[in-house]
């Protein structure tokens, strides 16, 4: 067995010539012969009019292929085994999402032109190195509690006093001669300008991820050129990022002006210095994401609330006690993710954000082929496992996913879920 249990390896090749561009993930790289065969079978199928999209092995191993823009082939291989995170079907959806995200990362950094028309493979290889940080972040899903890459909905942090922050972001962006501004706290969006929300949901998610990876680099500010995969895949914008406090970043998307230096010296202090205490309050909310003011039932372990219209989500693992019985916090996040995939692949419709390009809509559209087989509409579902009880419900506007400890009686779940939904929506206006 060449791949470790549960690890995922990402292979990137040129679609036409099969030259490997990079591989990421997994400590041990797959032998080249395997990479070649994996690419070869897909290429051979393409010649015969057959598009290979996925493959599954015993023990949850999984291979997913996808070609973007007829020029770049991405292959994700998952080792499965005991450490595998999901059953194969859930895993496949996760991998499909991964490929899409990775492609978007590449476009974000390099622009579509360079990727669609590869002139110099060696240069591209070199250029692609700049995406590795972002790609690795997607691959490892390092940060707990950020589900945007899976849900394609922006992760929100609900600040205790949103109006102040909103005003500050609006003012800051305006001063920086931009319509796109956003405040990121703990990797989640705490406030953003109106235009920021008009970006495609995937772009919002992607920019959040980029800012996370940039702020990990610990520089106080940076000026980074980005291509928006949907908005402007060929023309770069400038992303200016300023660290306000550790864990709190503000950024704007702008044109040639202002320079990083003028913005940093002239604007940041003016708008954000008065708000340091407010920002500290925000940081205190931490990974709970939901302010303490929102009363949640004590028996809710974790929640994920998605607004289907605005494509924003808030997720939270509420772990009151350190010595609480399992599942642990990390496991809760994992269960929440798995339950989200489980419910959306089988029952609920998962909103498809604008696809990368139309010809690739085939493999994406089939994630819900099972859900389409229902003659009546699924509204809610629950799952009782040994570790916890999960409940999901869907209304025209929202999707809510909840985890409960096993001790909660099953018949209470529905009431608890509906109550939680109305409480959170009422308190936050999400």
């Amino acid at each position: 067995m060449m791949l470790q249990d549960g690890s995922t390896q990402l292979l990137c090749l040129t679609a036409s010539s099969g030259v490997p561009l990079f591989t990421r993930g997994a400590s041990k790289q797959l032998p080249f012969s395997v990479i070649g065969s994996l690419n070869g079978v897909h290429m051979f199928g393409g010649g015969q009019g057959v598009v290979l999209s996925g493959c599954e092995t015993e023990g949850g191993g999984k291979v997913v292929w996808r070609v973007f823009q007829d020029s770049v082939m991405l292959i994700a291989v998952n080792g499965g085994g005991q450490g595998g995170v999901g059953c194969s079907r859930e895993e496949e959806v996760r991998l499909q999402r991964l490929l899409e995200n990775v492609w978007n990362c590449m476009v974000l950094v390099l622009g579509q032109d360079e990727l669609a028309n590869i002139r110099n493979v060696e240069r591209l290889k070199r250029d692609l190195r700049s995406c590795f940080g972002l790609i690795d972040q997607m691959l490892e899903e390092r940060q707990e509690g950020v589900l945007g890459s899976l849900t394609h909905c922006a992760d929100l942090l609900l600040p205790p006093n949103p109006t102040l922050l909103q005003e500050a972001v609006d003012g800051f962006a305006e001063a920086a001669d931009s319509e796109f501004g956003c405040l990121i706290i703990h990797g989640r969006i705490a406030a953003a300008t109106e235009k920021w929300w008009r970006l495609a949901p995937q772009e919002v998610v992607l920019l959040s991820a980029l800012i996370r990876s940039l702020s990990d680099s610990a520089s106080a500010s940076c000026d980074y050129p980005v291509f928006l995969p949907h908005g402007s895949p060929t023309v770069a914008h400038r992303l200016l990022r300023f660290q306000l406090l550790p864990g709190a970043d503000v950024c704007v998307l702008c044109g040639p002006s202002p320079s990083l230096h003028t913005a940093e010296t002239g604007l940041v202090g003016r708008f954000w210095a008065p708000l340091v205490e407010t920002l500290r309050d925000c940081l205190a909310v931490g990974e709970r994401c939901v302010p303490q003011a929102v009363n949640l039932r004590p028996d809710v372990l974790a929640l994920l609330l998605i607004n289907r219209e605005t494509r924003r989500s808030v997720s939270s693992v509420l772990h009151p006690l350190a010595d609480a019985p399992p599942p642990s916090k990390a496991r809760c996040w994992e269960l929440l993710k798995l339950f989200y995939i489980f419910s959306t692949t089988r029952y609920f419709t998962q909103e498809e954000s604008v696809c990368v390009s139309t010809e690739e809509s085939g493999p994406r559209g089939r994630a819900n082929d099972f859900a389409r087989g229902f003659s009546h509409q699924p509204l809610q579902c629950y799952l009782v496992t040994e570790e916890c009880k999960s409940y999901a419900l869907q209304t025209p506007q929202h999707q809510l996913f909840l985890l409960f400890p096993p001790s909660v009686p099953t018949f209470v779940l529905r009431t608890a879920a509906t109550q939680t939904l109305s409480d959170v929506v009422a308190a936050t206006g999400l």
Binding site: M1, M2, L3, V34, S37, G40, V41, F44, G45, G49, V50, L52, S53, C55, E56, T57, E58, G59, G60, G61, K62, V77, G80, G81, Q82, V85, G86, C87, S88, R89, F342, Y347, G362, P363, R366, D369, G373, F374, S375, H376, Q377, P378, L379, Q380, C381, Y382, L383, V384, T385, E386, E387, S390, T395, P396, T410, F411, R414, T415, T418, L421
Partner: protein, 982 residues
Amino acid sequence: MVVQPQVRFLQTRLGIAWETRRQLNKMAVANCDKRVYGSQTLVKGSNEERDDGNDRESTSSSFRSSDCSDDLEPEWLDDIQKNGELFYLELSEGEEEAALAHANASQGVSTNHVHFSEKEDEVITEQNRKQRCGSRTKGEPALKRLARILRRKRHPSLHKGRGKDGGKGSASQPASILKNQPGHRQGVMVQQQQLKEVCVYLNPKRLVGSSACVSDSGGLLEALLGVVHRSSWSRGQRDPTVTPQAERLTIHGLIPNSPAIKSGHILIGDVLVAVDDVDVTSENIERVLSCIPGPTQVRLTLETASADSCSSADSSPARPTKASPPVSQLVRLLWGEDTTELQMSIGHIPHVVMYLSLKLDSASPEEEEEILYQYPVSEASSQLKGVRGIFLTLCDMLENVTGGRIISSSLILDKHLVHVGYWKESTNLLVIGLPADRVPLLYLQTVVGDIVRTLKVMYGSLDSAFCKTDHAPKLDHFFCLFFQQLIQPSRLMDSSSAQVPDISGTLFLDGLPAVRWLALPPEIKMEVDTVLSDFESSDFGEMSEDFFGLRRLYVILGCCLFYKSYLIANHLPKEDLLDVCLYCQHYCLLPLASEQRVGQLVIWREVFPQQRTGSGSIAPGYSQPQGRHFLLIVGLRHFMQCVLLEAGGCASPASGATGPDCVYVDQVKATLLQLEALEAGIEERLSAPPAPCLSCADWFLPASTARDRLDSLASSSPVFSKLAGAVKGSSSRSRGRSLFKERSRRPSPQRSPSDSGSEGHMDAGSGFSPHSTPDPARKLGGRRDSFGSGGSDGSGGSGSLFKIPRMKHPNPFYLGTLKKTLTERETEDMYNTMKLTSGTENTLFHYVLMETVQGIFIAPTHREVAQLSGSIHPQLIRNFHHCCLSIRAAFQQSLPARARRAADRPQGGGWGLGPVKEHGVLFQCKPENWTDQRKPAPTMTYWVIGRMLLEPVPQEFYVCFHDSVAEVPVEMAFRLSFGLAV
């Protein structure tokens, strides 16, 4: 006397004395209401016949004269293949047929032969024809019979050796018309009107005639078919034999270049009798033809006056074998008839099965040598064949990469998503490709596992199945059935018509490692078990080893008994039962027995029960006897008995190709005949009110307008007020039960608000409110037994005794008054009726309970479901099954490997969510085509919940109920399993 010939035959064959056997036969005959047994044809008198003693007497005597010839062989003997296998299926005629024959008998025509056999050819006499014209409904079966004759003619190989009738035995009968008779019979035939069938290809989009034609009197008949018919009024003459309204469609002319003239078999002067088995007249022909939606092949039945042309057409070998008889496609398929047409119709849907070799043997220069077997050969499948390199490479490579064998892959082929399932055995690879919209990926593995197990049961191993070239035709047939069942089940089951086939249901129920069980009342169950045990003891006289000093041929390992697709008794170990059942499922034997009355079914083949032949871990100190195993399936009418026999071990070892043994077949038949005495009891059980009570989904939709309308109807129409009277306890019988049910059910006031709430109704509190306490008084559920539901299948006189209408009033408040009027028996029945759900209302829609240990499951019977009718309910059941696929897949993934049906495939790997115990989904349904713009459509929400129980016995329970009452599935499962004493 009747048994005599066969006795003699067997005596010579086996060299043993037959006294005991005769006695046994006599007993069987006596048991079975003096039916003739043991002769070539089994005469099964319908109840009407039995009642009418005189008539029957004459029938049977005419038989004896014909049957007591020196024809000694059982009719299936010629169908035995070289390797000893036998698949013999003979249909009996339906009830209408019996009625028709009965009517004919009273007219003095001797077509009172219910059972079709080759000896007495079916005769469509002048009189018969007239009756056809008179009563269209009864005419249909006659056509069927005729078509069957045609069928048999086209397959002389199937029935050769029995057609040596000449004229013997049928001297008293009118001559047959369609048989290839010796020349001298032609003279007799000339007077007969003859039927012939012609298949033509029609394309409604390309009308033959000009558009003006359509407006003409010719209409579609001319435009589409190219047949000119001038109705009598336009011709000014009147055929005396026809009624003025519905005129026979005599062909007066043919339009050039039309489908009719191209066929070459439609002649001027012929009469068009039927289109695709729909009887047509001038009155309805336009309607019938306008129903043809798109380009299709239709079968025309024509009556022709000239015997010569017809018989020449019939006998000419060049005649295309297109005339498809109106027996169901399934039966045709099982008969091994031409399957190309069926296969053609799904040719565009990509599906394939391939058995590929992973061994590279460069020495042999043959092309495509790695393909050991492939089916079908169509365009879409050849594309899949073209990429077999992918399958081989992936299979070989991925095992090294991920450490597990490949299970499936998905590919897109001409915008069709195709899932490919793999099964690797030694150095060979089985690849099955299926369209994703038929088999969800979730369930592909189960489907592939089942097909592999079926093949292993039939052939021992995949290698032995695929690597022998002489198996190829059989495998073609096998996979044709497989794909047809999955891809176009509606074509196969066309006899059951209207309902949309429930592919998810088929997948789910067939995929369960269990057989559908019908719990019988204990006394009947005991009798059935006794009869089976008697049989299994092999205590027939000729088996006495002491007496003959011979070893017996086979040991009966056990048997199981099906009645109308329900398992009613099982004396087989679970794994053997599953093996047998897989075989039966694959060959659709179970639905066959429930829908059509099987005249006679005899199947014999060597099998390789997985538990016995495998190297399974058996208790130490015990080793399985090394023997060969044979499966004998005998079906008579609705009964079907499967017997597993062992040769070797303590019976004498079998060598070579071993064919069925008459003694055993006859013993099974005798057993079945003995069991037929219990049919009435079983039928009674089937027509009994469902226990637990079921509700119809439509009742829960607060379609207030419809109900109001019904109410007003009830007050105005006498029929309905009579129905209302029946509710109050009068025992008058009434018809129109579906209306009745809707009428008698009243919505509870508490439920309506939560139902009519728009979607996203959040107030779940109302759902969980106080009705959840189980009702101690066991108030009766909201439905009433409907009697005489059209399916009592000739249990006739005795049956009607049991059809006393039982009043099950939905409203518990009426119970007190009802009680007084009910007889003791009825009251008892009422209390036996179980309600599964808690609360005052019966909210149960559907359920499936599987006992893993015994390998059986229970679900509402087809009849119970059919009784509920409704428009939403069938949808709901489809949805239920679809959801169950998902629920069960979730269970499967958390189950340890041993419990899986595809037993020898270890299922390692993580199911990230952990073992699933219970899983439920809430669905919302709205009535279709809701037109009222002002009001939102009423909605109804219901749960589909699956629960896996490990204690006290492993069970899987799937239930569907209205969400007004919170249910605890565990409790429901307990109530169900204890209540029904599975």
